[in-house]
């Protein structure tokens, strides 16, 4: 197997790079030249680890889901990223990036958000550090994720609606990039997923890699070996999956299962299943798989979950899927809703709608009875209660 790693130009195989207008070049180049050395500084690591432990609440538990395991006849562990402060894995990355932004001397933070989890995580670290925060969010997502909009405002962030295109995550990302073009010197853009121009995909994956780092020693404690047979994670842009896969990327004993949102069905025209519907192209600064017309116009994706409603995937995931290192599984809205209800009543954990897709993969994948599976429980479902209630009341 070829080693999976990013090269100096930000490529994973055919995917990655930094396709950005010149207006963004100085910012991205400054980051590219400094991110690795800054992240490796002793002081940075001390600040980062301290905040992860005492502010975020890490390590998150690796929980043996007994009732779920019995139901599926296999051993299932849940990596409880939902127990992080602010309720999702997103904060691992925003803590890291705000520390970088401080070292770069940036006074203003911008971010994009779909489900609102990344927006809340960004607003949180900005409040923590006393920095101005502007979060771009599609007008449609603002309507369907009201609790998170309220949280961001409570935390002092300004939520700016993205009104172009489908008015969802893709458009929020466009608006954030434009803001960055207009404010090139004092602003840092905290991208929330493993997407965007190099070095973002690699940088975000490194910040999220704390997930698989903890999984290794926690699995060792629980099972006597530091790897599972499979890691299962939902993929929109793919940051929780990148974090959960990270230390196993080059360990072929571990199957990597990337679960995408099929929406109303892959062939329905209302889907976000990029690995099937996508072709090679450039979106938001990197070469990856994306949903597009034969003229290269980006197709509006659809998923009931705002966090998976993205027309591309991160370049690392595109590479993992294209080379067969990761298996892609597709879950419809309906299947995800059912899984969310099942998990809530089996384990007493209400997962985020995004994460519910990962749970639903258990019905679709093959495994042996003695396998150990880890599901990355990327976030909690409080923000999705409205949607869940509509499903329950049907």
């Amino acid at each position: 197997m070829k080693t999976i790693a990013v090269d100096e130009h930000g490529y994973y195989g055919d995917f990655g790079g930094a396709y950005i207008p010149e207006m963004l070049y100085p910012n991205v180049e400054e980051l590219r030249q400094t991110y690795l050395s800054m992240m490796q500084e002793e002081k940075f690591q001390r600040d980062f680890q301290h905040l992860l432990r005492d502010y975020v609440g890490r390590p998150t538990p690796l929980y043996l889901a007994k009732r779920l395991s019995e139901r599926y006849g296999v051993t299932i562990y849940l990596k409880r990223e939902d127990l992080n402060h602010t309720g999702a894995h997103k904060i691992n990355n925003t803590i890291g990036q705000i520390l970088l932004a401080q070292r770069l001397g940036k006074k203003r933070i911008i971010a994009e958000t779909g489900a609102g989890q990344h927006g809340v995580a960004t607003a949180t670290v900005c409040a923590l550090m006393g920095v101005e925060c502007i979060v771009y969010m599609g007008e449609v997502d603002i309507a369907r994720q009201a609790p998170n909009v309220a949280r961001m405002r409570m935390l002092g962030a300004e939520v700016r609606p993205a009104m172009s295109g489908s008015r969802t995550l893709k458009d929020a990302t466009n608006e954030a990039i434009r803001d960055w073009i207009n404010n090139p010197t004092d602003t840092h853009y905290i991208i929330g997923s493993v997407v965007g121009p190099h070095p973002y995909p690699d940088m975000v994956a490194r910040f999220q890699s704390v997930i698989s780092e903890e999984m290794r020693y926690q699995l060792e404690e629980h099972t006597g070996r530091d790897y599972p047979d499979a890691v299962i994670a939902c993929v929109g842009g793919g940051s929780n999956a990148a974090g959960a896969f990270y230390h196993y990327l080059n360990d072929e004993r571990v199957r990597l299962i990337a679960v995408e949102a099929a929406g109303l069905g892959i062939d329905s025209g209302e889907s976000a299943a990029t690995s099937v519907l996508g072709t090679e192209g450039v979106i938001h600064g990197s070469r990856t798989l994306l949903m597009q017309t034969e003229d290269g116009q980006i197709i509006e994706p659809y998923s009931i979950s705002a966090g998976l409603d993205y027309p591309g995937i991160g370049p690392m995931h595109a590479h993992l899927i294209k080379t067969g290192r990761a298996e892609a599984i597709h879950v419809t809205d309906e299947e995800a809703l059912k899984a969310a209800l099942d998990v809530s009543r089996t384990e007493g954990i209400i997962p985020a709608l995004e994460t519910a897709h990962a749970f639903s993969a258990l019905d679709k994948m093959k495994y042996n009875a003695d396998d150990v599976l880890v599901i990355c429980l990327s976030g909690r479902g409080d923000k999705d209660l409205d949607t869940y209630m509509k499903y329950l009341d049907r």
Partner: protein, 257 residues
């Protein structure tokens, strides 16, 4: 010699380059607008390939692109229109768009269609210099197309020299840190930047774009560069006017002053 090089050989100042989005306001306006701009005495035309997600552009150009796509403008149709326009105009034509459009159309097919329509140059703002050198420069040069890269007030001198080395035709000088159509008027800070670049003695002529919208800003730009590029202001005029030919004549007359 391609028309862009010829143009700059014959004329070193007051070059007026007008951008418009193909297929806007109406799908069939592309040819009419090219003819009208040429007849009105514009020196160079930048034809925008409408794109769903134009990162470097502001709301005016994005909306014109969205409308053009809604009108049904496709890449094959665009090339058909450009071939038709070429029958009656000899003005240099530059295609501007985003790299994904070229990739998806097929790079070789794109170049072949540019040759058929006698396109003279390309502006692809999100194509990195590194990618261009590694994969595309040879083919574009062989096809005889001029490539224009952007510089901004934040671009370092070393990088400007690199851009000068890789550009062929003209350098697109972004007047300020902004998306298109964001600002109007030219500040002292911008003038300092224009003077700094003018003093660098670059091989390529420079055209100043972003924030050029009327006679005053055009005239200022012409003091510090070979000329200027206007986009959003012309799109706004097209949106407000009735007849594209009349609007074009009035707009060009207003800019030239």
């Amino acid at each position: 010699m391609n028309r862009i090089k010829q143009l700059f050989q014959n004329k070193q100042e007051h070059i007026l380059n007008i951008y418009f989005t193909a297929g806007y306001p109406q799908k069939e306006d592309t040819v009419t607008i090219i003819k009208a701009l040429a007849a009105a005495g514009v020196d160079l035309i930048e034809v925008g390939m409408p794109y769903s997600d134009p990162l470097a552009d502001g709301p005016t150009i994005q909306e014109s692109g969205t409308q053009a796509l809604r009108n049904g403008l496709t890449m094959p149709l665009l090339f058909e229109q450009l071939r038709a326009a070429r029958q009656s105009v000899d003005i240099p034509l530059v295609l501007m768009g985003y790299f994904n459009q070229v990739l998806q159309y097929g790079f070789d097919r794109f170049l072949a269609d540019c040759l058929k329509a006698e396109i003279d140059g390309l502006i692809l703002p999100d194509l990195p210099l590194y990618e261009y050198e590694q994969h595309y420069q040879k083919k574009i040069e062989t096809a005889g197309l001029s490539m224009s890269f952007l510089i901004t007030p934040q671009t370092t001198d070393d990088r400007i020299k690199k851009v000068d080395e890789l550009s062929d035709g003209f350098i697109y000088m972004v007047s300020s840190a902004a998306i298109t159509g964001a600002k109007s008027g030219i500040s002292d800070q911008q003038i300092t930047y224009f003077e700094r670049i003018a003093a660098m003695d670059l091989h390529n002529p420079r055209l100043i774009g972003f924030g050029i919208s009327d006679h005053e800003t055009y005239a200022t730009a012409c003091k510090y560069a070979a000329g200027a590029i206007i986009g959003s202001a012309y799109i706004k005029a097209l949106a407000a006017g009735d007849d594209v030919t009349t609007t074009t004549n009035q707009f060009v007359a207003m800019v030239r002053g």
